[in-house]
């Protein structure tokens, strides 16, 4: 019995700990790699884009290995700070705290705007509501509006769907929609907001559930859900998110997508980033439903 019990304890601990163990990036700092190997991690919004970029780039540069993984903008930036990746993809700007952490770890971080993205607000295709103002969306997510009838829809409860808190899309939506860009506003998502770990999860819930409202990057929206037109002011024009309406700044919920690297890029990494900012890669941006950058922007922090 004693043996059985101790085995049992270990089994239980293993179950518990398998959930607790962080995937701690090595503390020993960046490992020296051959210049032809690029590790790219971060935003789930950008992961498809980054994959297609990597594939297309490798057609002309088969000697360069590029590994692309998702996990969320926060995850990618944490990996950059910990020195385990070469490029972090982020669908939000790096936070001052993260920048500080990077500097403490001895890295100077470089920022590149590589594309733009509209965030579409979506509902079930049979939901009669077609248009919302930014303020209405904010009030929905703050649980001040709880029934579709208040918005001219059916008498149904509203189910709020969002990405997890480690997602850049979540943070962007919080700052620009729920707080309407007001940095002093401390409102947050209602606690009953469903926090789903993936874009696919959001689309699946909104597609199946007539009560649901969700949001996600334009590149992830499928024809199975209905995109809402959005106005920034109550008496303003309701705009449908497209590449054109984002490029001419009509659609109110759009943001830049970023790549972050350590210090001055060199070798294969430099060539890859230059290629991404160039015409061929920006054409891919358009193909995938994102918005190409109009002018080249890059900035160095921490000097």
């Amino acid at each position: 019995m004693q043996g059985k019990f101790s085995r049992f304890i270990i089994f239980i601990s293993m179950i518990s700990f398998s959930a607790c163990q962080p995937i701690t990036p090595g503390e020993q700092g960046q490992v020296a790699r051959p210049s032809g190997y690029i590790e790219n991690k971060g935003s789930d919004t950008m992961v498809n884009l980054a994959l297609v970029w990597a594939e297309r780039y490798r057609q002309d540069h088969p000697e360069v290995q590029i590994s692309v993984t998702g996990g969320g903008s926060g995850t990618g930036l944490a990996a950059l700070i910990n020195g385990t990746v070469d490029i972090a993809n982020a669908s939000r700007r790096i936070k001052p705290e993260e920048l500080e952490q990077a500097q403490q770890a001895g890295y100077e971080v470089r920022e590149y705007v590589v594309a733009s993205d509209a965030i579409a607000v979506v509902v079930h295709p049979e939901n009669p509501v077609n248009q919302l103002t930014l303020e209405q969306i904010a009030r929905i997510y703050k649980a001040e509006i709880n029934n579709w009838a208040e918005l001219g829809g059916e008498d149904r409860p509203i189910v709020r769907v969002s990405r997890e808190t480690n997602s850049g899309t979540h943070v962007y939506f919080l700052e620009s929609v729920i707080r309407l860009g007001n940095s002093k506003d401390k409102s947050i998502f209602s606690s009953d907001t469903l926090l789903l770990p993936s874009s696919e999860g959001i689309i699946a819930e909104v597609r199946d559930n007539r009560n649901a409202i969700g949001y996600d990057g334009l590149g992830y929206i499928t024809p199975e859900v209905k995109v809402i037109t959005v106005a920034s002011e109550p008496d303003g024009e309701y705009i449908y998110p497209t590449v054109a309406t984002v490029m001419n700044d009509e659609y109110p919920i759009s943001r830049d997508l970023y790549m972050y690297t350590h210090e001055e890029r060199q070798g294969a990494l430099k060539d890859y980033i230059d290629w991404i900012l160039g015409e061929e890669a920006q054409e891919i941006v358009r193909e995938l439903g994102f918005v190409p950058i109009t002018s080249l922007q890059s900035k160095t922090y921490g000097e």
């Binding site: 518990s16 962080p22 480690n166 606690s191 009560n211 649901a212």
Partner: protein, 302 residues
């Protein structure tokens, strides 16, 4: 053939015994090291975050709201729900397989239950999203199908194979003479099962239940996919059909984004510590119960 000398034999014995002892100590060492690691990473949180904030009702780490109450109640809701489903079903299945089923049914059922144990939790999660959650939403007219109930059903399902196979082993280990004695004294089959076989196997069955509950409380992937992860506070029996957020899903979803040593990182470890305490309590209670049962039944039968 000349047998090994006594000295060599002794030496063999010595090394084998040593090896077994080392293996035993290593397991204990691991548990101690893991506990130490967990404590070291988690306890500094008590100096970084006010206890009152830690016990708050709102979990939203972006704004440094670290209230773990909704996470604890979320884990408890799912665990209790899953146990209510898995324990009766699991134990009854084990009794059926071991005591009632004809041998050919037994031979089919046993491997099938073991296959059920092999279903990866992510696959269960998919089933939950695509089949169970829409079904529950439509059947009970719920606002959303991503609820504690969905998680409980799937986790109950995941725990059943563990409960069945361990209880079934325990029932099999009950000597045939017990059953024969009961039947010989005119007991019916049901009286034999309920009055003799199951009580005799009680310690094994309790171990089975606790292993099942342990699997449920530590399960991460499935709950993350199907419970909606909304850190809501419990509101009576209704919280069973509301979205909830468990401790495990929180750690899994957020550990990747935190910088090592930050407040958020320590709070996540603190949640890990609480999970650890939970399973420890389950184990200790189970051990107490099963140990006591053994002595009593032994006394009874001697």
């Amino acid at each position: 053939m000349v047998s090994k000398s006594l000295a060599t034999q002794r030496l063999d014995e010595f090394f084998i015994a040593l090896l077994i002892r080392i293996a035993g100590y290593i397991s204990i060492l691991f548990v101690v090291l893991i506990s130490f690691f967990l404590l070291r990473e988690a306890l500094p949180v008590l100096f970084q975050v006010e206890i009152g904030d830690l016990l708050g009702a709102r979990w939203y780490p972006i704004e440094k709201l670290y209230g773990i109450q909704p996470l604890i109640s979320g884990s408890l809701t799912v665990t209790i729900g899953a146990s209510l489903l898995a324990i009766p079903l699991g134990v009854c299945t084990a009794v059926y397989i071991s005591e009632i089923a004809p041998s050919w049914t037994k031979e089919v059922l046993k491997p099938l239950v073991e296959i059920l144990a092999g279903i990866p939790s992510v696959v269960l999660g998919f089933l939950g999203i695509l089949v169970l959650s829409p079904f529950l939403r439509e059947t009970f007219n719920l606002p959303t199908g991503l609820t504690a109930l969905t998680g409980s059903i799937l986790l109950g399902w995941a725990a059943i194979p563990t409960i069945v196979s361990v209880s079934e082993d325990a029932l099999n280990n009950v000597p045939v003479s017990y059953r024969e004695a009961s039947l010989g004294m005119g007991g019916t089959r049901w009286q034999t099962i309920w009055g003799v076989t199951v009580p005799a196997a009680r310690s094994g069955i309790i171990t089975a239940i606790m292993l099942g509950v342990g699997r449920v409380i530590g399960e991460t992937m499935t709950v993350m996919m199907v419970t909606g992860n909304a850190p809501t506070m419990p509101a009576g029996i209704r919280s069973l059909v509301m979205p909830i957020r468990t401790m495990t899903a929180t750690i899994a979803a957020e550990m990747g984004e935190v910088a090592k040593g930050s407040e958020h990182y320590r709070v996540l470890f603190f949640i890990g510590l609480i999970l650890f305490l939970f399973s420890l309590i389950i184990n200790v209670v189970a051990f107490q119960i099963s140990a006591r049962r053994i002595t009593r039944s032994e006394r009874l039968l001697s």
